[in-house]
Each structure stands twice: as C-alpha cells, then as structure tokens.
Subunit: 580 residues, 2 copies
C-alpha cells in the first residue's frame, strides 16, 4: 500500500509506513515515473534491480561485545575477495578458515568491496548500494557473523569502501539527487559531487554509510578506494570530514576505527593531522613500494619497469615508503609526489601485490607465477621485515596457482559486450598470445577460486612455512615494528644486497639485522655491524620453525665487520644476543 | 630567412638566428602547418594575430634602482584599468596622475590584466600572451616607464595575472603543447593542465611569466586571478611552486614580491605557510567583506542579498574577513569556507567594490550610483578603518558617475556575436529595462572612461576629501594597521551600529574607536568605553582636514560609558588622548 512521502528541507522526504518491520520489502516511486529501490537500502534480497528489504540491526546476537583493536603498527593485513576465497563464496564460509589465518600471523582481514553489486560475481568496485552488504555473500547478517567470528579470535575486519564512483549497472542515485557532477572527469565517468550545489547531503550519504558499517556491522577499519578520484575543491575536504566523523563516532562508542586510503598521489596530506593541513586519515597504501620490489624481481616484464628500474629505488621505498617524492616519473611524464615527512612509518601499507596488480595482468597471474620459490621468499621478507604495515593478497603465502581474473556478472547485454570488448582491447591477443578471458564467463570466476588445501602440500607448504616464520619473528622481535625504533637501510648497488637494521639503545638491547640479496648468484659480502654476538635467527635456504633457532644456529662473534656467504636470493635475519 | 629548430628533451626546440636583435620580428612554423607567433613573446606589435617582436629588457633606462616596498599592512591598493583610467588609455598616460593618487593616500597601483589580448579594448581577462604587455597600452617599455615613475614616487605596482584560463581569440598555446586538459571544466572551457602529463613544463611556462614581470618589469606584487579555477591534484600544488619560485627569485634580487590570490574558496590554505600545509601565498581577496557591506547598504537589490542579509554578518566580516567559515550558504547550496585562523589580518584585501561587482551589473554602475553621499562615506570608512588591507576601485573615491561596462574588441565575427548574445542572455532587457550595452561597441568602452577632473567638483570633492582624510588617519594612527594590535568589533543589531576599536596597552597609549551607523535615522546610543579623555578626530557629517582636529573638536570626559547622538549613516572616529 503506497504511502506518500512529505517533502522536508533540502530534498529530503519522509513518511510513516504502518506495519513496516524487519523483512518487509519496499521501493520508492519518484513522481509518476520509475519505481526504484532505496539507494540507502540495507539489503537487496533480489539484487540491484529488485526490492529493498528492511533490516533490523538491533536483533543480531553478537557473541563478542568488546574486543581490543591492536595499534596499526601491530597489524598484518590479509586482503581477500569474499566470492573466491572459498568455493561457497560467502561471508560465513570464511569463518572455518580463520584459525588458518590466525596461525599464519594475520591480524586483520581486509574484505574487497562488499556493497551490493550487479549479479553474483564482481570484484566489488561496481557496487551501487553503499549501505547494503551483497546478498549473494550473505547480506548484512552474514557480514555480522563473520565480523563477530573474527573478533572472537582476536582478528579485526577492514572494509574496502568505494566512495569515488558507482558501478555502471543498477545505480539509482542520479534519479534521487545531485550525486554526480560533470565538472570533473574520472576514468569511470562523472565524478561524485563532493563540492558543488547540494554536496553537503551527498557527503552526508557517504559519511552515513561509513558510520553504518561501524555501528551496525562493527567493522574496525576502512580501506578507501582510489581517493585520487575524489575531486573536491571545498575548504573542508570530504575526506577530512569523513575521517573526523568516523573517529568521533568511534570515540563515542569507546572504540577505535582506522581509515586507510588507497592513493595515487604520493601526498602525505592525506594522513597528516588536520592542524597541519592534513585530512587526518590514519594510513595510506604505498604502491611505490610494491612497484619498486616487483621490478627488481621480474625486471623488464613488469608494467612498472619504466619508473622503477633502479635498485636504489627499492632502498628508497624501504626507507620512506615513497620512491617518488617530487622526481620526474617517466610514465606519468611529470614530477610526482612529495616527501612523506612528517608521517610515521606505521602510516604506510606495503605489499608485494594486491588485487590490482594481479587482476590487471591479462592472465590474472599472481606475482608468484613469475618467480621461483627463493624469489617469492625474498619478496615476502622484503615486505614483512620492512618497517611498514604489511598486506598479503589472499593465496600469496602458499603460491596459489590459480589466477585472480577480472570477472563480472552484469545483467545488461550491452554492458556485458562493452566490458568484454574493453578487456580485449586492453589485452589484445596478439600481444600476450591468447584471447583475454571473458569477464562474464562463469568459468573466469570459477578459475579464480583459491585451493585452500594447498598450504599443506610440497613447495606450497615450504613457502607457507616461511611466511609463518617471518610473521612469528615480526611478532616476537618488537623492535621490528616499533615506530620509534631506529631504522637503517644500507644498500650495495652492484651486489644487489640490502641490509635492514632495526635497533633501539635503551635498557635492554634490541638490535635486529635482515640481509636481503636480490642477486641470482651466490656471493661473498662483508657487512658493517656493531660488534657483538650476532645470532642467525632465520635463513631462507634453511627454513625451520621458531623455537629451534638459538640452539640450531651458530653465532657470529662480530669484530665490527661480518663476512657472509650469501646464497642467491638470500634472506637472513640476525639479532645481537648480548651487550658489546 | 627560416631557421630550423632542433628538438631537445621534453618538447623544447631551440636554434640560433644570426642577426636577430631587439626590434626583429619573428614567428614559428610548426610542422608544415600554421605560422604562429611566439606564445612567450614579449611584444605583439600588431596584436594577437601578428608577428612577435624581440625585446631587449636590458636597455631600459631605469631611473630608480632600488626602492623599498612597504609591508603589506601599510598598503592602500588602487585598482585601475589602463584603458579607461585616462582618455589616452596607455601606461604612460597614468604617470601625470600619480601625484593625485599619492595625495589621496594610495600606496599601490593594481593594474587589471595587461597581458596581450585581442584588439584594443578588453578588461584583460581575455589575454593570450602571458609574457607580452599589451601593445595598445604601450608594450613592455610603456609598462617599465610606469613602474619606474611609481617607484620614483614611492608607489608600488601590482599586476593582475591570469593563470587559470586563456582568452577565446588568438590563443596559440594548444598548437604548441599540452597546455590544456579536459579532465577539469572551468566556466571558460578546458582548464590549464597543471597536474597531468607534461605539466611540469606547463607550470614552468607560467612561473617564468611571473619571474619575467618581476625581473624585466620590476613589478612588486601579483594579483592571481580566480585561483579556484586552477584545478590541481598534484602533491606539490602549482600555486605553492609559484609562490616559492617568486619569493626565492625576489630574495636573490634583494627585493620582496607579494602574491595575492583572488579566491572563491574561503580557504586559508592559500595563504598559510607551506610547513603547515599552506600554499605560501601572501594574501587573498575577501569577497565576503564586500558582499556583507553591499547588502547592508543596498539591501534586497544586491545580487548577494540571499547570503548576506544579516547585519551581524558584517560584524563577522570586520572580525575575520570571512563571513562563511563552514556555514550553509543559500546561494551556493552548501556549507562554504572554513575559519581563516591562523592567518593574519594583513593577509586579507577588502573593498566596497572591484571591477567585478561593478562591471557585472548590467549597466556597469558603480556602488556609488545606488548610494547617497553619506552612505558612500560610511562604505569607505568601513573598508578604510577595518583591520584589513583596503583596495579602492578607480573612481570610487569621488563617485565617478561613468559606468564601468563590459567591453571587448574581438576580431572574430562569430565570437563577437556569441559574446553579445551571452551578455544579452545574462541581462535580459525585460529584467532591467533596456538592452544590455553591446560589449563590442566602441562607445561601451568610451562610456567607461573616468573623468579625472571631477574630484575637484561639488559633492565629488566632498567624497574625495573624506577618502583623503580617512587615509590620513589610517596612516597617522599606527594602531589602526598594526597587525599585532588588539582589535574589537562590537555590534548593536537593532540600532545597526558597529563600533571598531584598535588598541595596544604598551608604554604609550594607543586607543582608537570608530563608530559606524548603518541606520537611516538619527539615534541616541551609549557606548561602553574605557574611561579616559576621548577626542573626536573625524565626523562624516562635519568633515575637515587633519591638523585642525584637536582644537576644533570638544573632548568627551568618559566615565566608562559615552552617550552619543548618531546622525544617519554616521562615521565617527575617536582617540583616547591621555591615560585614565
């Protein structure tokens, strides 16, 4: 029975629908025209084109009422795609694997976007209902079950939210208000109206979305997709308002909630405090780190070879997360970035790969596909022994052989054809040997699913064990993650060796050195080290489990310089065992 | 005789032309196509479509080698349009009038844009050669003569430069390089490419332009046109690079050069230091002040009535230059601006009107056209007794009766018709009673010329005397401009009275109070004042020249409250003559 909504100020309408309750379905009729779902719907039980369903968040039987989110410097993030992490492809299907992730050393699950998207298969960046957890993933209650189960095991949940564009199918917002603008252009069409007429309430829509995920689903953090596509000349930037609103609400709830930006700007403004002109976000991804590392491992084949060919650039990435701090970037054809000072090290998230690098290769192949086991260990060690916040992309820890392809499940045949053609144009068959997989084909999705039995098998097990070991050392040597410890990066350009040192010189001795060799042959190298009794904790060529270490490894009595034989792609970890 | 230019890196070409010398004419042939003038030309002797001429800046016989630019808090700016200030419409024709401006109390001449524009009549915002002083104004040597003459008299020169768009006729830049982008839209078409591929050298082009005006023409300051139309997501914003480059070069030359932004953002980021995330510009226009003042004087007729109808908003403008610091603006339909803190008072330029408010009225009528003499005095006092940097628009000081209309002299008939039609559409005859003046008609330009004989005549003389007197007091009471003095604004809403107080309580007593009544009738008001011997310095109803004052005016022995009879539109200035 239709209810007439009454106009309030500034474009809002309201009304009272007697009898409406959790489970009721509803739609809006605008003027005499289309009947549309609610853009702020909490659930689209029949997908983007169907009715909206009323959800009562108050009835969910939370098991964990309070848990303590660790500080960001303690985080180890695991990025996963709900649809392909398990064969079921649902929130709750992830729960049985939480012990595996906990055992690996992960502390935070980062879910690729889960806001309602068209169909059942999508990376999530085509979402069109920013308040609705994807129905085919299990909807909001499925998400709540997953979050609760994570908290029960001391794991946190990061949600990837897309506040820079909407997907091409099922977006009803343009019919509801001035949510978009043609003053700015994004690669995906009109930008969201964050600074034009009526933008206060456009902002409010997205801020309310974030607050909803915090309050109703208890997520612990956000990854904000591609903030460089949020165009905003307002004196009070949207991102600053978003972070202030989320932090304020979290404080009211007695919690802390963290905001992490994906940014292609190399601009620390995003993460600096508001009093010094920053936006007050907590952290940002550092793609430079990933690119510099990838080029040293795969060389000219890398898509990033033009900008990151120097070995010294990897040293820069390990020192300051950014490689480009104002230098000329050949691929961008302009100077790029600025110094990250005075941001802290625990404000940068680093990785060997994420969904983008993997999924945007024509065959969706993971970095491991191009690397030997030794090289994969080296890549992992570079990330996990860095002073930044590490992120793993699901499956990298055991060299998952399945690709992570680009897949969709659009309902509009024209759009299906356009996406298909776009993909083929981006990766022409003549260039990489076969036709680009069809994004709409259900097999493209199916081929992308993980095989979570593999971590127990053969070389997969060897790599998985090494990741576990690295993460165990990262946890048990606090100087590695302490944001106030001294960190030094030494680099031997010709030998392609990097030495990372973390130390603090207070009451007890904390001094840890990692040696990473990017050379493909064995070599001798003499390292300058403070005198002391250096004990080898880890050797990628002789992996073992922590606990066996101190008895198993001979110590090096160091006279200030230590001569080492470095295997190809060596990873060594030492600590100074006693005072000099 | 054509010379082939050789390609250098990043799109530059160079060559040596034997025999080229000052006065030589030249053009560029790009590929086999068009023959074009030099976009960095110093002189277009036959206009925008003609040849470029080599100019040797080293031969100009400067009379004044060094002069000392006063600090910004001492400035009184006079904005003038070279073409209409005198009947000759040239740089050098201004020189005989410099004693008049000096006598008035002006310290800085601000020239509306003088970069080469199409034809002989233009406000200057259609400029297309950012290195060439307009030929019909007298070219670069004419400008140098004016600057030298100013410096000789202790006056400085501010140049209005347009780095946000190019005019619609004669713009050759798109044929030379990637100077424009369609990623952002301005009201005047494609934006300048300040952050895309090859933008380093686009930025360099404009920075070199500014440095050229500083070095070759010795200008003292810039007014940067509409910086809110400079779109730039670079981690190192163009405006920050521009200000750093200009300040650095000025320091190398042993001079100081000041950058002032016209901004529609109410965002102090522009003028805050770079270390706290600012762009490091020196000052910005505060349009809010002008609008709040105008609405109190002309009421509902004002184009700004929707946003500035409250008397208290004028108080806000007098306290902090901005009225909107995040409040909802009805005309913008969004929250607007942010607090100007921690910017200083001498970082804001205020005015009763500038070329825009005047010229964008359909009849080009000045504010004085709508006001009585008493109201004009009140407006002047509000600006000139404010703690900010005052700007006068040419002629306002004697109520110039001629309009300042929008005029052009385009060569392209289609463009002429489009501009004409645009103007008629903006100001339809049915709305304001007659057809909008034809911008292309030479009479529209001629009608806009000043009559500089008027300041000696009748009511014109009365107003002019009052301006002089206000400026004399502004100079002789340092507490009025001291950026560290205490400033208080008290406001009686119902009575429509504002009291401005400037005082500092150090060794000698500096305590000045201005009373401004916006009421159209006489009224009694008791003002709270520190006890002391208050002497009336100025009374808009009984003007006199400074010097006569102390004997002529009775002093008020104040018991802490002073009862005054305020005439309609009263302006009174008091000082406390001795300790309490």
């Amino acid at each position: 029975m239709p209810v007439v909504l009454h106009a309030e100020e500034r474009g809002y309408f309201s009304g009272f629908l007697p009898g409406a309750a959790a489970g009721s379905h509803y739609q809006f009729r605008l003027d005499e025209a289309a009947i549309l779902p609610d853009p702020a719907s909490r659930l689209q039980p029949h997908g983007v084109h169907g009715v909206s369903e009323i959800v009562d968040p108050a009835t969910f039987p939370w098991q964990v009422d309070r848990w303590s989110l660790p500080p960001v410097d303690q985080w180890v993030i695991y990025e996963l795609h709900v649809g392909t992490f398990t064969s079921e492809g649902t929130f709750t299907a992830i729960i049985p694997h939480l012990p595996y992730l906990k055992d690996l050393g992960v502390t935070m699950l980062e879910l690729m976007p889960i806001a309602q998207f068209p169909g059942r298969r999508n990376w999530g960046y085509d979402g069109v209902f920013p308040f609705a957890a994807q129905d085919s993933y299990g909807g909001p209650d499925g998400l709540r079950q997953l979050v609760d189960a994570c908290h029960e095991r001391g794991l946190g949940v990061i949600l990837d939210v897309v506040y820079n564009h909407f997907g091409p199918e099922g977006n009803v917002l343009p019919q509801f208000g001035p949510y978009f603008t043609d003053r700015y252009r994004t690669p995906w069409g009109d930008a969201i109206n964050y600074d034009g007429q009526d933008s206060d309430d456009v902002r409010r829509f997205f801020i309310e979305s974030a607050l909803m995920w915090v309050e109703e689903c208890r997520v612990d953090a956000f990854r904000l997709d591609a903030v460089h596509q949020i165009f905003d000349a307002h004196a009070q930037p949207f991102l600053a308002e978003l972070s202030a609103a989320v932090h304020r609400r979290a404080a009211e709830l007695g919690r802390s909630v963290v905001l992490i930006a994906e940014s292609d700007l190399n601009d620390p403004k995003l993460i600096l405090p508001r009093v010094i002109g920053g936006y007050g976000l907590d952290a940002q991804w550092a793609d430079d780190f990933c690119h510099a590392l990838e080029v040293q491992l795969v060389g000219e084949k890398s898509a990033y070879a033009a900008d990151y060919s120097e070995f010294a650039q990897l040293g820069q990435a390990l020192r300051q997360a950014f490689v480009y701090t104002g230098e000329y970037s050949p691929s961008r054809r302009r100077r790029f970035g600025r110094s990250p000072e005075p941001a802290r090290r625990d404000q940068f998230v680093v990785f060997t790969q994420n969904h983008d690098q993997v999924g945007n290769r024509p065959g969706g192949e993971r970095l491991g596909h191009h690397l030997s086991l030794a090289e994969q260990k080296l890549a992992a060690a570079t990330v996990l022994l860095s002073p930044f916040v590490p992120l793993l992309f699901m499956g990298e820890e055991y060299d998952e052989p399945h690709p992570f392809l680009y897949f969709t499940d659009h309902g509009d045949p024209d759009l299906v054809e356009a996406v298909r053609a776009g993909r083929q144009a981006e990766f022409p068959a003549w260039e990489w040997g076969e036709a680009a997989p069809d994004p709409q084909d259900v097999n493209t999705f199916a081929r992308s699913q993980l095989d979570l039995a593999l971590p127990e098998q053969g070389e997969h097990r060897a790599l998985h064990t090494f990741y576990r070991e690295l993460l165990t050392w990262r946890r048990s040597l606090p100087v590695l993650t302490d944001p106030t410890a001294c960190r030094e990066v030494s680099l031997w350009e010709e030998e392609r060796v990097i030495m990372l040192r973390a130390h603090r010189d207070d009451e007890s001795l904390h001094d840890v050195v990692a040696v990473l060799s990017f050379a493909e042959t064995e070599q001798q190298l003499t390292l300058p080290l403070p005198t002391g009794n250096w004990v080898k904790l880890l050797d990628a060529n002789a992996p073992h489990f922590p606990g066996d270490v101190e008895s198993a490894q001979p110590s090096l009595a160091s006279p200030g310089k230590v001569a080492l034989t470095l295997a190809s792609y060596a990873v060594l970890l030492f600590t100074r065992a006693s005072a000099h």
